[in-house]
Symmetry: C2
Subunit: 359 residues, 2 copies
C-alpha cells in the first residue's frame, strides 16, 4: 500500500477528535509528512489542534467539510477508528460531500470505500480517488523465519494492550536513531502508520494464513542497508480479539530486540475489565517466550504511556516500572526515548563487535 | 459455510492421493457423511482407496474425471491442499471438465472458484454450483472471551505442527463421547472439517482482526444443550506461518481442556528443519500459558501420530510420551482414544460435582 503524502489533507474526526478513537488523525498530526489544512470536528470547532490533542500547532478545527475544503484540502482522511474498524453509517453523507467538493477520500477502516457502489459512482463522477489503506497486498507468502538473519537490527514494540503507544514509540525511536547517525527505518503495519510513512501493510486486514508472511516480506524489503529497523507493533497477546495478529507480527518480523509498552493504570485490556493483565515482568517473559519460538529476542526497555497522569505521577510510574523490571523505562512523548535508544545502542554495538571478532 | 453432504462425491486428488497433500480427500473418506463413488488419481488408478490410504474400503480409484462421472458423481471435491492453499494451474482443465460433465465443484483452497471468470461462466452454462469451502462468514465479530463460561465442556486439540492429526482426534473423541452417552458436538474450523461436518468456518481464510471472533461465535452457536464440544485444531504456535491462526483459535474457542498432538519423530516443524521443536512438556506448558490468558485450561492427554512407525515402535513411542508427560497418551487411529476420553470424563464429572455442590 502506497500513499501520496504530498497532498494537502483534511482530517475528518466528526465528534471524536481528541478522544480515544481519533488515533489515526492524531498520529498523522504528530508524525505525518502530509500538509494538514484542517481538522473537521463539530464539538471542537473554533479551537486549534494543539488545544485539543497537544500537537499540530495552529491547525484549525472546523465544523464542516465545506469550510475545510475552502482552506485548500485536496484529500480527506477518515481519521477515526472504532473497535473492529467498521464504518459508522453516519459518515456516508460526509464522504459523498467530500467527493463532491473535489477531494480524494482516504480510509483506514475495514469497510472499503471501493466496494461501495455509491462511493464508487461519486468518485468517478468527480474524478477523485478512493484510497483504502487497509487493502491487503497482492503478494501473500507463508512466513518461514526469513527475517531472522538480517544485518539490520530489527526492533519491535510489543504491548500489554491495544492503543497504548506502540506506533508512537517506534516512530520516536526511528527519529532518534537517525539523529544519532544510524541508518534507520520504520515499517508501518497499520493504517495510521501507513498514512504517516506513505507505505506499509495493513496487517489486521490480511487473511490469517498470510499475516506473518506479509510482515516477513515487508521487513526483508525494508532492511537492506539499514543499521536499525523499527517495526510498528499491533494488538497484544493479552487481548483475545487481536492476539493472533500480534503473534503473526512477532513471528513474521522475527525481531532481534523488543520494547515492552504499557499504559499507566491499565490493569485489564480495553473493554469491561474481563481480561486482567499480569505484572510487567510476567508480560515481558511471555513475549520473550513467544518470540523465542522463531528467534531469541530480549525485551530491553519499557515504554509507559502516562498521558492520563500529572508530570510528577508520570515520573513516579516510570521509575517504578524501571525498578520492577530492571530495564530502562520512559514515556517517550513526555520524557523522550534516549534511555531506550542507549539500551538499543548497547545491543547494536555488541553484535557489531561479535561480527568483527567472528571475521 | 454450509455444504450439502447428501450429494455423491468424486474426490479429485490428481497425482497426490495417499501422499502428504491429500488430507482433505482422506479426511472425507474416513469421516465424511457424503457418499463417495470414486477417487481420481492417475498414479493409483485401478486400486481401491483402502489399498492406498488404509480407509474407504472398495472405493475405486480411476484415472480420469470422465470415468468418475460415469460412476454417478454429482460433485467433485478438490481433495488436495498445498502449503498456503493456492491452486496448481494444472487443475484448471479438470475443473472445467467436471463442470461440463454436470458436476458441482467443491474447493477448499484459498483461490476461490467463484472469483474466476472462466469457472463462473462454465458453471452458469452447465447449471452447476461452485462451492468455495474457504469463503469466510459474513458476520465478523471481535472476540471477547464469551466462550469462557459455557455449560458444555470445550475441548481443543493443539499441536506441535500442522498436518499431524488434530482434526482426526477431535472427530474420534466426538464419536467416542457419543458412544458413551454424552451429548457431543464437533466444530469444524478448516476446509476438510467443514466438508466432513457439513458446516463450520474456514479460520485460516478469515481476516486477522476477526479470527478469534468467528470462532467464539461458532462455539457459542454449537454449545447449547451439549455436554462436550470438540473443536478442530489448526496450525501450531511453533510454526511461524500459522501461529497467529492457532493463537486466535485458542483465544476464541477458550477451551476448558486441551489435548496435545504431536507426530512421532518430528523434531522440527514442516519445512527444512528451521524450527526445532522443544520436548512435549515444554510445548504443553506453552499452550497452557497462552490459553491461560483467556481461560485457565489444562492439557489432559497426549495424541501421537505414529503413522510412519511399526506397531511395536508405535506402542513404545506412545508409552514414552505418557511417561514423559505423566498424562494418558495414544495414537487414536491405531489404539483408539478411550484413555483420553477417560481423562476427559474425569474433568467432566468433577465439574458436574462442583456445580451440584455450588447449588
Amino acid at each position: 500500500m502506497q500513499v501520496d503524502t504530498s497532498k494537502r489533507l483534511i482530517l475528518y474526526a466528526r465528534d471524536e477528535f481528541g478522544g480515544g478513537h481519533s488515533k489515526t488523525a492524531e498520529g498523522v498530526i504528530r508524525f505525518g509528512k502530509s500538509p494538514i489544512v484542517a481538522v473537521v470536528d463539530r464539538q471542537h470547532a473554533g479551537k486549534t489542534a494543539k488545544e485539543v490533542c497537544g500537537a499540530g500547532e495552529n491547525i484549525p478545527i472546523v465544523a464542516t467539510i465545506e469550510e475545510a475544503a475552502k482552506l485548500g484540502g485536496e484529500a480527506m482522511l477518515l481519521g477515526c477508528a472504532f473497535v473492529g474498524g467498521r464504518m459508522p453509517e453516519a459518515w456516508r453523507q460526509d464522504i459523498l460531500k467530500a467527493l463532491d467538493l473535489k477531494m480524494d477520500v482516504i480510509n483506514g477502516l475495514h469497510d472499503f470505500l471501493v466496494e461501495d457502489e455509491e462511493f464508487l459512482a461519486s468518485a468517478k463522477r468527480n474524478g477523485k480517488q478512493l484510497i483504502d489503506l487497509r487493502k491487503p497486498p497482492d503478494n501473500m507468502p507463508i512466513a518461514n523465519g526469513r527475517a531472522r538473519a538480517l544485518d539490520a537490527m530489527t526492533v519491535l514494540a510489543v504491548g500489554s494492550d491495544i492503543s497504548i503507544g506502540k506506533m508512537t514509540l517506534a516512530i520516536e525511536l526511528d527519529r532518534l536513531a537517525t539523529r544519532r547517525g544510524y541508518k534507520s527505518g520504520f515499517v508501518a503495519t497499520g493504517q495510521t502508520g501507513i498514512m504517516i510513512a506513505g507505505s506499509g501493510v495493513p496487517l489486521d486486514r490480511v487473511i490469517g494464513d498470510f499475516m506473518a508472511g506479509v510482515i516477513e516480506e515487508l521487513v526483508l524489503e525494508a532492511a537492506p542497508g539499514l543499521d536499525m529497523l523499527f517495526v510498528e507493533g499491533q494488538g497484544s497477546v493479552y487481548h483475545p480479539g487481536y492476539s493472533g495478529v500480534t503473534m503473526s507480527l512477532v513471528h513474521g518480523a522475527a525481531p532481534e530486540v523488543m520494547i515492552m509498552c504499557h499504559k499507566a493504570g491499565r490493569d485489564s485490556t480495553e473493554g469491561k475489565g474481563e481480561f486482567p493483565l499480569p505484572d510487567l515482568n510476567e508480560m515481558i517473559r511471555m513475549y520473550e517466550q513467544i518470540a523465542g519460538i522463531v528467534r531469541p529476542a530480549k525485551v530491553v526497555g519499557v515504554c509507559i504511556n502516562t498521558s492520563k497522569l500529572s508530570e510528577s505521577e508520570a515520573r513516579k510510574v516510570v521509575d517504578q516500572a524501571a525498578q520492577l523490571t530492571g530495564l530502562p523505562a520512559t514515556d517517550p512523548v513526555r520524557f523522550g526515548a534516549d534511555n531506550l535508544m542507549d539500551a538499543l545502542e548497547v545491543v547494536f554495538k555488541s553484535r557489531k563487535t561479535t561480527a568483527v571478532q567472528a571475521k
